[in-house]
């Protein structure tokens, strides 16, 4: 029996191969942890939306520089904008909760979707941090950034990957 010569190192392509896994695999801690972290991310979003609603007038007048005091119509308009922002935010957060549930149940596309958004968010923060010299501290964005990175670490781990990509046995 002739055997081909092996290279003296393993191919990095092994990193992209799914590990062998049984259909009866139990849900790994990494998957549970990832789903819980996505829920934490949603809670952080709820807090952010609430604080935005409470400080709305200040945000509009100071940060955006739009005077509200003189005109009732502008005032009503700003409130309408706030309602739209809150509704859109709530929809986004609701979708995230559904994604967390799907990840918990072992959905692969939900896992990939969340990882793509986490990657975009981390990249955005990194460009901000290294390019524009924005300071990242606990008081600004460290918590959301840390949550993003932890979500990505948990969901990209070998166990979480194996669980989401396990061969399914159709019992129904």
């Amino acid at each position: 029996m002739s055997v081909d010569k092996r290279p003296a190192f393993e191919s990095p392509a092994r990193l992209v191969q799914a590990p062998p896994v049984a259909p009866t695999m139990a849900r790994p801690a990494a998957t549970v942890f990832g789903a819980v972290l996505v829920v934490c991310r949603v809670l952080a979003g709820v807090v952010w939306l609430l604080s935005l609603a409470v400080q709305w007038r200040q945000v509009v007048t100071v940060d955006l520089g739009i005077p509200l005091d003189d005109d009732a119509a502008v005032d009503a308009g700003s409130n309408a904008v706030l309602v739209v922002v809150l509704i859109v935010g709530a929809i986004v957060l609701a979708v995230e909760v559904v994604l967390a549930l799907l990840i918990f149940r072992g959905s692969n596309w939900a896992r990939i979707t969340v990882m793509i958004f986490a990657t975009l968010s981390i990249t955005w923060s990194a460009i901000d941090y290294f390019g524009a010299d924005t300071e990242i501290t606990l008081r600004t964005t460290l918590i959301t950034l840390a949550l993003d990175i932890l979500v990505l670490l948990a969901l990209s781990s070998r166990n979480a990957r194996a669980y989401a990509r396990r061969p399914r046995v159709r019992s129904r």
């Binding site: 392509a13 799914a18 062998p20 990209s156």
Partner: protein, 310 residues
């Protein structure tokens, strides 16, 4: 070596044939590496943040260690060892991070029931699997200093698989010190380098203390450097308790090899590989061992100089 290579790759074949490459898999590989790089950045941010909080920063420093030891270093090791550690049998188990772990220093012949019977009769306790309940019990037994003689052992990998089961003996009710041995069933038709067929491979080491891993900085068990003492202790206890068991030694199987295990502990061995044949051990011995188990708690210390198989 051709059998070894073929055997090792045969062990990882999947039941469902799959394409060699897919977008899905490429994305996974990208996220795996990207998350590793991002975690390095996170560790750096947490470290720099720890200086801006005064004494409260000590908590942040603890957090930095947690992130580094349990997230960053394992991920980096996994990426690097995938590339540089050979994945066929080299006489070493691998840790879950891909690092070289405990050396394979024992082999067994016989079916699984006989193996359980022989080890049970020899005063060994089967280790629980790692799950939430057993992890919690480790914490409580450590805090309350109660003995937990079925404490689980960490997973090590051979043929790309976690150990099938593990056995241990507690020493003086101290969870930091214990004898333990992990077992892997070899793939069908797989042979040791040199052509000997064995059904089980095992790695036995003695945990002497709790400390920090050299490679990942995690809290882990430190093992005794002289792994031959533990190997001979396992063989001696099994042979002494089972008259039907036989032992054959493959002398100088991995001669004079000195190295480190997955936690960075030094290991020394003379390289002999005892092959214990337990296929003739009566399976009914399991019940007898359970009855005698309570009286047999005080396990003998690993003080067997030389060992019985020489």
């Amino acid at each position: 070596m051709s059998e070894v290579v073929a055997g090792a790759s045969g062990a990882t074949t999947e039941p469902v044939p799959r394409r060699r490459f897919s977008v899905n898999a490429a994305l996974d590989g990208f996220f795996f590496v990207f998350a590793g790089v991002a975690s390095v950045w996170l560790a750096w941010l947490v470290l720099t943040e720890s200086f801006s909080f005064g004494w409260f920063g000590i908590l942040f420093f603890l957090l930095f260690w947690l992130v580094l030891a349990y997230l960053v270093l394992p991920r980096l090791h996994r990426i690097l060892t995938t590339i540089y550690v050979p994945d066929y049998f080299i006489g070493r188990a691998r840790t879950s991070d891909g690092l070289l772990g405990d050396p394979v220093n024992l082999a067994f012949d016989g079916d699984e029931a006989s193996l359980h019977a022989a080890l049970g009769a020899a005063g060994w306790t089967r280790a629980d699997d790692v799950d939430l309940a057993s992890s919690w019990r480790i914490v409580t037994s450590t805090v309350t200093r109660r003995s937990y003689d079925e404490a689980p052992v960490s997973p090590l990998f051979l043929f790309g698989r976690q150990q099938d089961f593990a056995y241990q003996q507690e020493v003086e009710g101290n969870p930091a010190r214990r004898h333990h041995v992990r077992f892997w069933r070899t793939p069908d038709d797989w042979m040791l380098p040199g052509g000997r067929r064995v059904e089980w491979l095992a790695a036995g080491t003695f945990d002497r203390a709790v400390g920090f891993s050299l490679f990942t900085l995690q809290v882990t068990h430190k093992i005794d450097a002289d792994i031959d003492i533990e190997r001979d202790h396992i063989v001696t206890t099994v042979i002494a308790a089972n008259p039907a068991a036989r032992v054959e030694v493959l002398a100088d199987f991995s001669t004079g090899y000195h190295s480190r295990n997955g936690g960075g502990d030094t290991i020394r061995t003379d390289g002999d590989l005892p092959v214990v044949d337990v296929s003739a051990v009566p399976v009914a011995a399991i019940e007898a061992a359970d009855a005698a188990g309570a009286a047999d708690v005080a396990a003998p210390a690993p003080s067997v100089p030389g060992g019985a198989e020489r």
